[in-house]
Amino acid sequence: MDFDLNEEQRLLKESIDGLLTDSYDFESRKKYMKEKGGWSKAVWGKLAEQGLLGLPFSEADGGFGGGGVETMIVMEALGKALVLEPYLATVVIGGGFLRHAGTDAQKAAHVPGIIDGSKTLAFAQLEKNSRYDLFDVSTTAKKKGDGWVIDGEKFVVLNGENADTLVVTARTKGNRRDTSGIGVFLVPANAKGVTKKSYPTQDGLHAADITFTGVEVGADAAVGNPEDGLALIERVVDEARVALCAEAVGLMDESLKTTVEYIKTRKQFGVAIGSFQSLQHRASDMFVAAEQARSMSMFATMANDFEDAKERANAIAAAKVQIGKSAKFVGQQSIQLHGGIGMTMEARIGHYFKRLTMIENTFGDTDYHQRRVADSGGLI
């Protein structure tokens, strides 16, 4: 039983926190947002230089063999600094598919570019009516010769505009909500038949809606078993959920810190408003919520390694519920305690609130995961 970081992990935390303190103040972030695709190539290069983009890949694949705790550390730091760069889409999710199921050839084709920062990925999964069900897939991949032809529409694909490679879920067999017959395909973003409509998201990131019209890919595009990929998708999305939990913890830490600093300095009636008990109690409740979230983020990080897939899914669903509830409370109350200034675009705090809000609605919201835990027979 040990919740502390080891020496290497502490150094990792220091180095990424240091990097982001230097290059990610609020004004710089505004500039990065205006670059193509909504993030900074220069910052991405720095993350690559520090080895952060290769962190979770095995040494054999050119990475550093980091585990869940290392990803947790990075995601927390990215949350704290409100980072726009596509770490989740590229390293956690895209990289996740390659780590868990990529062939040697697929890894050789994609991993070096991820690690050196020259290539990014995006996960094209969400469909118009699929909501949070990963098995609800209408996009089709039909066999043609050795390869596949992909047709369908995907929505809110994070990093969709800049990504070099799209990781696409598509149905190879069966009907829309069948749990079997789903495959995962690596599709070059510039493949013929891929059209993208890009836009900024509410939290300042960029996404794209992507249409696939008769997009032809080779046999080597399929990651894992193209007729039975749901377990793989669930595995990688679970890792993404865990990463989002950690990002949210970073966001909550910074929101609470910023808010407490604000109420210590903001004066009304001749005193700092933080001297009022009603505000102190609210801030204390935010602390409790953030600590409960941190506990569950750690739990989820460990759950990634549970051998029993059902137990793993249940634990991560529970964590996502806790994070969702805590994030909503900490986010909303951060705005409330800032008062009018919290409503303005120019104050930092509102942007934390917006990112926290979007995290709740990514890969299953609180109700969705609570239902999963409830239907699984409980947690105790």
């Binding site: 102190q280 204390s284 506990s295 750690m298 739990f299 409980g378």
Partner: protein, 396 residues
């Protein structure tokens, strides 16, 4: 980071669990499951079984009968004890006055009191709260005046838990009226059968009798019953309250109750089918389980931190444990109320002998719900805990 228990710790859990299985009197367990009050005999019988095993004062230093367990072992022991469930050791003796005596008392006091605390030869109660001082404890007025080799004590204590069973009381008394309010308080112990001590029961909204008013009318106490130094009582009280946090979250208690809820919800029908099949209820239950899981992890973080860095100063995280722990306990009693629905109403007309199986299981659910409103009030109300977090953690 490694959240797994070691093989040794898992074996320890098994050892503890099987000891409870073999040694907790079944009727005692049943009463706890049903939320009933135990008799003095039932409690003392169990504590002596525990003490005979060497686990009566597990967290005390070894020289006074403690076990030398690690923080994690204590955690496991507490969790198993609470979730079996078995009666927890009498906090007033074991967790409160005992540590004050072995830390600040003289050799004679240690010899005289500690073994009797461990075996519950003396049942102790706590004389802290007064009618005028609840959360503002330091405003207490009970006076101890020195007269030769005696103290003369006058005043009133209240909310004195199980004073009706008590042989001894430890009391915060004002011994210097001129000093600043925290500075003039002393920690004095004396027998409840001393002349001038009167105990008057307070009936709580659940109909139970747990707490009392205790009156002191010219009670004569030997001077040597002072623990530690005169006028340092406030420091000892703070020390004592800091020790209270072991198991304050009561994760095991809530776990046991959630298991009971799931069990009952599989039997009680609503709309012609077990209420557990109702998705709204099931989700509420899941929500509570998730909160409890998070709390369990938060508690383990505190436990691991103590194990690594020593206990040191009271950890403000214990305020998180108190707030969330009490909220969850209250939610579990609400869920039980929801499960039994209209059968919450009958008063306990059947007695508690277990003879009427058809109805007895519902009899204590409403009282237990009423009774559990106390958990966010006692031990420093949740509002006081929020003050502590605001000051000690957030620097507000």
């Amino acid at each position: 980071m490694d959240l797994a228990f070691t093989k040794e710790e898992q074996a320890f859990r098994e050892e503890v669990r099987s000891f409870f299985r073999d040694n907790v009197p079944p009727d005692t367990r049943r009463k706890l499951v049903e939320g009933r009050h135990l008799t003095k005999d039932e409690m003392v019988t169990w504590w002596r079984i525990l003490n005979k095993k060497g686990w009566g004062v597990s967290h005390w230093p070894k020289q006074y009968g403690g076990t030398g367990w690690t923080s994690v072992q204590h955690y496991i022991f507490n969790e198993e004890l609470q979730s079996y469930p078995a009666p927890q050791p009498l906090a007033f003796g074991v967790s409160m006055v005992g540590p004050v005596i072995y830390t600040f008392g003289n050799e004679e006091q240690k010899k005289k009191y500690l073994p009797r605390i461990a075996n519950v030869d003396d049942w102790w109660c706590q004389g802290f709260s007064e009618p005028g001082s609840g959360s503002d404890l330091a405003s207490l007025k009970t006076k101890a005046e020195r007269k030769g080799d005696k103290w003369i004590i006058n005043g009133q204590k209240t909310w004195t838990t199980l004073a009706q069973h008590a042989d001894m009381i430890f009391c915060l008394c004002r011994t210097d009226a001129s000093a600043k309010k925290q500075m003039g308080i002393s920690f004095i112990v004396f027998p409840m059968k001393s002349k001038g001590v009167t105990v008057r029961p307070i009936q709580t909204i659940d109909g139970g009798h747990e707490v009392n008013e205790v009156f002191f009318d010219d009670v004569e106490v030997p001077y040597e019953n002072l623990i530690g130094e005169e006028n340092k009582g406030w420091d000892y009280a703070k020390f004592l309250l800091g020790n209270e946090r072991t198991g304050i979250a009561r994760v095991g208690v809530s776990k046991e109750r959630l298991r009971r809820i799931r069990d009952l919800a599989g039997k009680v029908e609503s709309g012609g089918k077990p209420i557990i099949q109702d998705s709204a209820f099931r989700e509420k239950l899941a929500a509570c389980e998730i909160e409890l899981k998070a709390l369990e992890l938060t508690q383990l973080r505190v436990v691991a931190d103590e194990g690594k860095h020593g206990k040191g100063k009271p950890n403000p995280a214990s305020s998180v444990l108190k707030i969330k722990g009490s909220e969850i306990q209250q939610t579990t009693t609400e869920l039980l109320m929801e499960v039994i629905g209209p059968f919450a109403a009958p008063y306990d007309v059947h007695g508690d002998d277990g003879s009427n199986e058809a109805m007895d299981w519902t009899a204590q659910i409403a009282p237990s719900y009423f009774n559990n409103r106390k958990v966010s009030i006692y031990g420093g109300s949740n509002e006081i805990q929020r003050n502590i977090i605001a000051k000690a953690v957030l620097g507000l």
